[in-house]
């Protein structure tokens, strides 16, 4: 046995999850049969984008043998309250259409039967009397006078409107040598996790307890929301999440309306109900990121300095704005000016109701829309000034000596060396060589483009940022209850034989949390990672958790890792005290390694963790009174910087801020318009890296996610609100065939605000890939004078750009 205890954090420890997953032994929601006599639900959905529901006739369905019952909007109206949402004029959002359907695929009725087959058959027997109404899917048309109005009681289609102004925007524009103006359109797409939504609900009428198993991954702020909606006390709503979830990417946050829906069916019908979403349902009415129209105007000096921005952003939140929206608009408030020292900005932020499906978090949440607009604009500035795009970026990047850097909007960037990361990316891409290659390619009549992006990668959301959506006057009223905080809790126990179990609140969806948690605990307690039992199944009834808990905003490696290190350090303190007592040495002169406490001054003095734990459990009265029995700890890590927005709407919307510099080269087939990525270099600063293999997986996966949105995927609708992408034949996800070979580099600026110096890395290139593809394609088409202002850049759209069939296709 070596004297130096091995350290595990920072190593590519192989994932403990994988043997289970690749041998088909994962326990996913559809594998569970947690209660007897489960019945199965199927959901009847609106074929109309917008229609009044004049009546629902379920008589024939109820006659079908095996059908147990039906839930309709009338039941929901009686049994539940509309969901709350953090806007000043909330629409009435129920999990089932009440009186009116507002998007294609909106649930209209739920049939519960002995099995799914009977339930599906019964859907055909329900007769719904619809009165179709005119529909609107375009946000700008939805804001026009005379547009069809979705929520009559609101009088218009505005879900949120806030004008946020930071710094002296007028002075910035007065001092400018020139301005650059553009309009961009970002599409609606999702994540298509391999596993769709799944819910099992059981109602105990005697205890008044609703127990729900689901593949929900947080944020758990949605738990009190569902309890309020169901009108039951929060401690009578129990959420249980299985240890394995087949992908989430933020999209599974928005399962909560279905949790409520199946819970209501279970409550009405008095039986346990299971519902597993099918792929058509997921594609048409699960959730998605928002499509956005952005207007931007930049005030620029002739030397490339960007002085200020005026922007108008219009998010399409579909039929109902639902929590955590309008977070897509405000998550990026702190990092709205990206990686640049821009001094002033006007953000005219809108969220608009249309007859599309409702939206929610989708990996990158708000950042892909932001950076597509901002980074395309930086390139337009470079073009107008005749500068290289890298030159404009170097001119404006925040310098390393400026950290910690307070942004004009309130973001507190913790650490970074942005110019170094961009230099590294350009060097890895052999940028100058690439430009020469481009010249040759252009001379040969080829369409070859080079793009780059520099972007701040925020992690760990401040629970207070969404309240920026609320008008200042309301926030200042005495009855208003402010929100703040970014925290996570972990619980660790050491059993009587000296082994460690740790439970976390992240509901992992494949990220490898079990492995990384074990690495962190192993280092803190001087044991091996495979000796740590990591419990990922989550249960609101038995776990110590809070509204911020869950997996979203890349929070694991930042706040999660800090909570885990913190709880292990607490346990360690007690272990040291007991060991010091047993060895009769000062606990301060001990260290933990190889499963033992070892005296630093006399390495022959050792005691095993088994003996320490055994004493604490079996003979606690032998210990001094101030030590106490057992070894366990619950620890909450809370960022002191996650404050509520101030009166001027400044908000530190995230708590750690990483950095991404992407460089990409593309070649376009002029005949077909097909974009081929020939080089993709991505340099990241995620602070200290906990497991390099896992970070690499996140970078590659997130890049594929962004490439999907930029080149292939779109949840398309026709002008009447008919959904057009109901299968994977029309909704094109990139597969292994479309995968891109990436070159990944790192710059490490440890975070001063987390326990291990690490930052989030989960969303990563999903934020930047759409922007860098946009810039590379624009560069390729520059000789043709075509403007790239929308995604996805499908062959059809690129072909039209090449052939000038409409300037913006």
């Amino acid at each position: 046995m070596s004297n130096t205890g091995e350290k595990w954090v920072g190593k590519s420890v192989r994932r403990f999850e994988d043997l289970r997953l690749i041998t088909g032994r994962g326990a996913f929601i559809n594998d569970l049969t947690p209660v007897a006599n489960m019945h199965h639900a199927a959901v009847l959905r609106s074929p109309h984008a917008h229609a009044r529901i004049k009546g629902i006739d379920c008589r024939e369905a109820l006659k079908l043998p095996g059908v147990f019952g039906v839930l309709t909007g009338d039941d929901v109206k009686k049994m539940a309250k509309p969901f709350q949402v953090g806007v000043s004029r909330p629409p009435k959002y129920y999990p089932l259409a009440v009186d009116k359907a507002r998007y294609f695929g909106e649930p209209v009725a739920v049939v519960v039967a002995v099995d799914r087959y009977v339930a599906e058959d019964a859907l055909d027997l329900i007769k719904v009397d619809y009165e179709p109404l005119p529909a609107v899917v375009d946000v700008e048309k939805a804001l026009e006078p005379g547009a069809p109005i979705l929520h009559d009681e609101l009088g218009d289609n505005v879900a949120v409107h806030r004008n946020l102004v930071y710094g002296d925007v007028a002075a910035a524009f007065a001092a400018a040598d020139l301005t650059v103006k553009a309009r961009f359109s970002f599409p609606k797409y999702g994540s298509t996790p391999m596993e769709t939504y799944g819910v099992i609900a059981q109602w105990d009428p005697h205890a008044g307890m609703m127990t729900v198993w689901s593949n929900f991954h947080g944020p758990f702020i949605l738990h009190p929301l569902v309890a309020t909606m169901l009108q039951i006390p929060e401690n009578k709503l129990r959420f249980i999440v299985p240890g394995d979830i087949g992908g989430g990417f933020g999209i599974k946050t928005s399962i909560y309306p279905y949790i409520a829906l199946i819970a209501l069916a279970a409550k009405k019908l008095g039986c346990a109900v299971k519902w597993i979403e099918d792929r058509q349902e997921h594609l048409s009415a699960g959730s998605s990121g928002t499509d956005r129209i952005s207007y931007i105007e930049a005030a620029v000096k002739r030397d490339g300095t960007i002085l200020g921005l005026k922007t108008k952003i219009i998010d399409n939140v579909g039929g109902y704005i639902r929590a955590p929206e309008p977070a897509d608009l405000f998550r990026t408030t702190g990092n709205y000016l990206g990686a640049y020292t821009i001094g002033a900005v006007d953000i005219d932020a809108w969220a608009v109701h249309t007859n599309k499906s409702p939206t929610g978090p989708n990996r990158g949440y708000g950042c892909q829309q932001l950076y597509f607009t901002l980074e395309r604009t930086v390139d337009l500035i470079a073009e107008k000034l005749g500068m290289d795009p890298s030159e404009v970026r170097f001119k404006n990047l925040i310098r390393p000596e400026q950290f910690p850097y307070l942004t004009p909007t309130g973001g507190l960037y913790d650490s970074g060396d942005y110019p170094e990361a961009l230099r590294k990316a350009l060097a890895m891409a052999k940028y100058e060589e690439l430009r020469r290659e481009q010249e040759k390619a252009r001379a040969a009549g080829k369409l070859f483009g080079i793009g780059m992006v520099t972007a701040v990668d925020p992690s760990v959301s401040n629970m207070g940022y969404v309240t920026v959506a609320i008008e200042k006057a309301i926030r200042q009223s005495p009855s208003y209850l402010p929100k703040s905080g970014a925290l996570e809790t972990a619980t660790l126990t050491m059993d009587p034989l000296g082994r460690v179990s740790i439970s976390t609140n992240h509901c992992p969806q494949g990220q490898g949390h079990e492995t990384v948690v074990a690495q962190i605990v192993a280092d803190e307690l001087g044991i091996r990672p495979d000796e740590v039992n990591v419990i990922t199944e989550f249960d609101t009834a038995t776990r110590v958790w809070s509204i911020a808990s869950g997996s979203y905003s890349s929070r694991f490696a930042s706040v999660g890792a800090s909570a885990i290190a913190g709880v292990a350090r607490q346990a360690k303190e007690k272990i040291m005290k007991i060991a010091g007592f047993l060895l009769k040495v000062d606990p301060e002169r001990l260290e933990l390694r190889n499963g033992m406490a070892v005296c630093l001054d006399d390495p022959s003095k050792t005691v095993s963790l088994k003996r320490v734990a055994g004493t604490a459990h079996w003979n606690p009265l032998s210990l001094p009174e101030d030590i106490g029995p057992g070894i366990s700890a619950t620890y909450t890590f809370s960022f002191p910087t996650a404050k509520m927005p101030d009166e001027e709407d400044h908000i530190n919307s995230s708590q750690t801020y990483g950095f991404i510099a992407d460089v990409m080269a593309v070649e376009i087939d002029p005949e077909t318009g097909k974009v081929k990525i020939v080089k993709y270099v991505s340099v990241h600063d995620v602070g200290n890296i906990l497991n390099p293999m896992i970070v690499e997986g996140q970078v590659v996966g997130s890049a594929m996610h962004g490439i999907g949105g930029a080149l292939y995927e779109e949840m398309a609708y026709d002008d009447d609100g008919q959904y057009l992408a109901g299968t994977f034949a029309d909704y094109l996800c990139p597969t292994a065939m479309e995968a891109v070979k990436m070159e990944i580099g790192h710059v490490i600026s440890p975070s001063p605000v987390t326990a291990l110096g690490s930052k989030g890395a989960g969303e990563s290139c999903s934020m930047t890939a759409p922007a860098v593809i946009g810039n590379a394609v624009a560069d390729a088409l520059k000789p043709l004078g075509a403007l790239v202002d929308q995604l996805p850049l499908t062959p059809d759209r690129v072909w039209r750009l090449i052939n000038r069939k409409g300037a913006s296709a």
């Binding site: 074929p47 109309h48 294609f104 009447d720 034949a729 029309d730």
Partner: protein, 149 residues
């Protein structure tokens, strides 16, 4: 969705007109028609069983013949809904005398919605053309099986 087409029927204008307005013939010619019940003057309630790719289902439809200008023109208006979605279509039909034969020029304006349109979008116009061909094939069958007395 708009589809235009023309074709030739194996019968005189008079016979073609007869067949194409006769409920019995219509019920045999309309693809997937399981039932055609007269509910008014040139107004029918129909049960249609049609499938596009994997999306098969039964539609309850109202069929109405309007703008009747004997023997050259009428409009067939179909509005139906069922499990797979809904259809609203109007088919303008013009007949031209070609001696022993008749030329038909048709123009379809159809709106298809629901699941069938969400999953079968790329196939819809192809399927619609197929259904029209089926319909006119049926009309030809009628013309051939019951020659003029």
């Amino acid at each position: 969705m708009k589809i235009d087409g023309s074709l030739t029927l194996n019968g005189t204008l008079e016979r073609a007109w007869q067949v194409m307005l006769d409920p019995g013939s219509l019920s045999r010619c309309i693809p997937g028609c399981e039932q055609l019940e007269v509910v008014g003057d040139h107004k029918y309630r129909a049960t249609l069983k049609v499938g596009v790719a994997a999306v098969k289902g039964t539609y309850e439809a109202m069929v109405e013949l309007t703008e009747i200008e004997k023997p050259r023109h009428y409009k067939l208006v179909v509005e139906g809904s069922g499990g797979p979605g809904f259809v609203k279509s109007s088919v303008s039909i013009d007949l031209e005398d070609r001696g022993p034969r008749t030329e038909v020029v048709y123009s379809v304006d159809a709106q298809v919605g629901g699941i069938v349109a969400a999953v079968g979008q790329r196939m819809l116009s192809g399927v619609a053309k197929l259904l029209f061909n089926e319909f006119f094939k049926g009309v030809n069958r009628e013309l051939e099986s019951a020659p003029p007395a």
